[in-house]
């Protein structure tokens, strides 16, 4: 079972993001369970959403305590909420930011998970480019697909088109693909750097 | 010798019987083919205004609806005396659910009939003042606001009679009830309380609102018949004396009802979509004393020294009604 936890603020599409991951997984014939953290949601308040993916029926009904991947939609939550609580030893972290992981000051993370599992992505900027609005979920999901390899980018795009009708779906799908390619490239470059450093 | 057309005012009473009227002016009750929807054998008190009002109202409604009628009844006198287990006086389909939900239940019946395409079956909800003005108020307002196709008839005897004469939101000022006793420095129901559901119904803008009284049964039937010809939420508020609760002679029910109308305390009017469109003028205006003194619930206002100030205040209420609804035509002798 794969467990993904998404952190953000109310109004940023955190809940939708979890739902879209579940739809993408469903399209690949997997079982998926997505649900929000059920806090007193209001615009700007910290929120969480969860998604589990498995080959078989998912029966577990608790919040995700030991995520295999984290998506941080809003970096202002860093150092404010314990976003990395329970992160698995080989977990992935995708942060919505134009800065690097080092610049964000989350070095302690590198001791916990492999460096190549941590990636930043300027998703809000990509979203502004493709959607005209800084709603980063679509791009982040493209980034997640690239970072983890758990989902085909085509499944993510199809799920985005299902969730957002018409032109909005197309734009989100485009943002996701752009994010996917950029993240792929970034990871390859990182790999290259590390190979050199060895 | 020429024939003079005589205008009868008090029709349907012992003064002028139905047999002297044109067929079209006769009451439904006077006809052999009346449905007797509220059949005899019910357990109402002697002189019960509500039983009288209900009988006239429902039979008129049945006639208007070609006998395709369903009635929903709130808990109260009418419900209790008409269905003494294991008997029922109702000859029509009849449902009693709870005290406070008759309007909502009737809305449900109407919805079901609509869902089933039964356009010709009509729905009536009925209750006393307690079930309408107080505990059923929320549901009544909802029914009005949605403009559900229901005629709601309230039989107002101005207190919770079935449970032993307790004060309701319809109890008039100064009246003695079991919970507003005629004791202390301000005996009876306090002034400045109470609500007028007819006015509240008008505020909802529903297609038809009317007040009626068992004092004028022709008028009651006419108003119910008119209401039955309208679609949407309709409300008829009927003044029904309760000899037991009001402390008046059971043979005086119609007289007391008439005095309430003639004093101006119970105005008779009709309204459509929030505007008064008709009123019944008072032909023989009386002082409220004539009405009040026949009822033991007001007896503390009389005698030595009595409560002349209170009676004056009640008189002022009557005069406000007269002014507001234009109940006395200019130039009418008092």
């Amino acid at each position: 079972m794969l467990q993904i936890r998404i952190h953000g603020r109310g109004g940023q599409g955190v809940v939708s993001a979890a739902e879209i991951i579940s739809v993408a997984a469903f399209r690949e014939g997997k079982h998926a369970q997505a649900f929000p953290s059920f806090g007193s949601e209001r615009m700007g308040a910290p929120v969480m959403a969860f998604c589990r993916i498995d080959e078989r029926e998912i029966r577990l009904r608790e919040p995700i305590m030991t995520p295999d991947a984290l998506i941080i939609q809003d970096p202002t939550l860093l150092h404010h909420v314990d976003l990395f609580q329970g992160l698995a030893a080989d977990g992935y972290v995708l942060l919505n930011s134009g800065r690097s992981a080092e610049e964000l000051g989350i070095d302690e993370l590198f001791a916990r998970v492999p460096r190549r599992h941590v990636c930043t992505l300027a998703a809000s900027e990509l979203a502004r480019e493709h959607l005209g609005k800084p709603l980063p979920s679509g791009a982040l999901l493209g980034g997640l697909a690239a970072l983890t390899g758990w989902l085909q980018i085509s499944s993510v795009q199809a799920a985005l088109r299902e969730k957002f009708a018409g032109i909005s779906g197309e734009r989100n799908a485009a943002a996701a693909l752009a994010a996917f390619n950029r993240t792929r490239a970034k990871l390859a470059a990182q790999e290259g750097v590390h190979a050199q450093a060895d | 010798m020429s024939n003079t057309r005589v205008k009868f005012y008090q029709t349907g009473t012992f003064t002028v019987g139905n047999r002297l009227l044109d067929d079209s002016d006769r009451t439904v009750q006077s006809r052999p083919e009346r449905t007797n929807s509220l059949n005899s054998g019910h357990r109402a008190c002697q002189g019960c205004g509500e039983a009288l009002g209900a009988r006239y109202a429902i039979d008129a409604a049945m006639r208007a609806a070609n006998n395709q009628l369903v009635a929903v009844n709130a808990t109260g006198c009418l419900e209790v005396f008409s269905t003494p287990y294991p008997e029922t006086s109702w000859q029509i389909p009849w449902l009693h659910s709870l005290f406070g939900n008759a309007p909502a239940v009737a809305s449900g019946v109407a919805a079901a009939l609509r869902a089933k395409g039964k356009k010709d079956t009509k729905v009536i909800a009925q209750g006393g003042d307690g079930g309408t003005v107080d505990i059923g108020f929320g549901c009544l307002s909802g029914m009005f606001e949605r403009n559900d196709d229901v005629l709601y008839i309230c039989y107002d005897n101005e207190a919770y009679m079935n449970t032993g004469v307790q004060r309701s939101g319809s109890t008039p000022a100064a009246a003695h009830t079991a919970t507003t006793q005629a004791v202390g420095s301000q005996p009876g129901n306090p002034f400045g309380t109470g609500k007028s559901i007819p006015l509240i119904a008008m505020a909802h803008g529903i297609p038809y609102v009317a007040t009626a009284s068992v004092a004028d049964l022709h008028d009651l039937e006419a108003k119910v018949t008119k209401a039955m010809g309208v679609t949407g939420a309709r409300y008829v508020h009927v003044h029904v004396p309760c000899p037991l609760g009001w402390g008046c002679d059971p043979s005086y029910t119609l007289k007391v009802a008439r005095l309430a109308v003639e004093s101006g305390l119970f105005p008779l009017f009709e309204a459509e979509y929030g505007e008064v469109v008709a009123r019944t003028p008072i032909r023989r205006l009386i002082k409220v004393d004539e009405y009040l003194k026949l009822q033991r619930r007001f007896q503390h206002l009389f005698g030595e020294p009595g409560q002349p100030a209170v009676i004056a205040a009640i008189q002022a209420q009557a005069e406000r009604n007269i002014k507001r609804f234009g109940l006395v035509e200019k130039g009418e002798a008092k």
Binding site: A32, S37, P46 | P84, L95, H96, A112, G142, R146
Partner: protein, 419 residues
Amino acid sequence: MLKQIEGSQAMAAAIAMCRPEVISCYPITPQTHIVEALSAMTKRGELGSCQFINVESEFAALSVLIGASATGARSYTATSSQGLLFMAEAVYNAAGLGLPIVMTIGNRALGAPINIWNDHSDSMSMRDAGWIQLHAESNQEAVDLHLQAFRLAEELSCPVMVCVDGFILTHAYERVDLPTQEQVDAYLPPYDPVQVLDPAEPVSIGAMVGPEAFAEVRYLAHHKQLRALELLPRLAEEFAHGFGRSSGGLLSEYRTADAETIVIALGSVNGTIKDTVDELRDTGMAIGAVKLCSFRPFPLAAVRAALQKAKRVIVIEKDLAVGLGGIVASNVRMALRGLPVAVHTVIAGLGGRAITKVSLRRVFTEVHAQSESFAEPHFLDLNWQVVEKELARQAEQRRAGPTAENVLRQVNAIGTRVH
């Protein structure tokens, strides 16, 4: 057809296929998505002549259905928590009148203190009103139980509550196999009422019944629920044939064959329990689980049969009988009377507190090891420090202030926590 869908949407789709004729709606978290979806479907004309009525309170919502059902219309609404209490008078009235109304309860805690999250206190408050109460373990079962509920309600002339954990199921996206209209029509025939308001054959419904007949009328209501004990498994079997999967029934067993310790619970927590059972079975523990679906009628015989072979039973329940302890546990004890089976009550998940595999595993292990220190009832993951501190504060001063606010202050509830 398989869909990845929000629980509420799946339920709405299933209810729509049941061809309801009157739906009343009053919003309350967390059931509202269901009625919103039905509202849209009705407005788009997808439900034929179905009437969707927006009412002014939950009391009105059920009252409207009482009128509609008595007029022969298939009637539906949904509510939760405070809404269920607000319609309490009508809940008893509908059962007493024998009207086959189906109502979804999006299980949510009852206040005070006000709480929007899941537990079973709401449906528990109405457990003896005469409604049949069925609990869904998953959104698939939630869909399936609604179909069975209409069938059951109309065959017995008894209202049915389908209980679905608020947020946990209602707001979860998961894979659901939605039936086709043909499948539903084959399973659920048109409503044929036992009593109906019809000018052609007038009847009076809702008379006052005095001491001379009341007891008999009440016994007949009890008898009706006892009939449901036979009908529920039959309908579930028929369902399995028509739809190709097991759903509903009185209860179902999981790895109980040689179990020494058996866990029993209502609703979605059964999923977490099964995962925990599997983990413990891997360590060699002889543990199993019973998922109870029908809470009313309480299947005394079936529960006894399922649990009697165990040495001990753990009841996981999301409710609290204040001043007593467990509600489900009391019912389970009744089923096991006379047998040497130890019943342990675990009160968990109140007000939406997460029930974790880790905590369950700890409790199951402790009980299985017959630990004497196991409190009865056991309050899972209760913060005793907070409780003791508050009790001390209250002992100190008369004007201690509102309890809830003081506890919140202690717990410092700001920002997000995982659980």
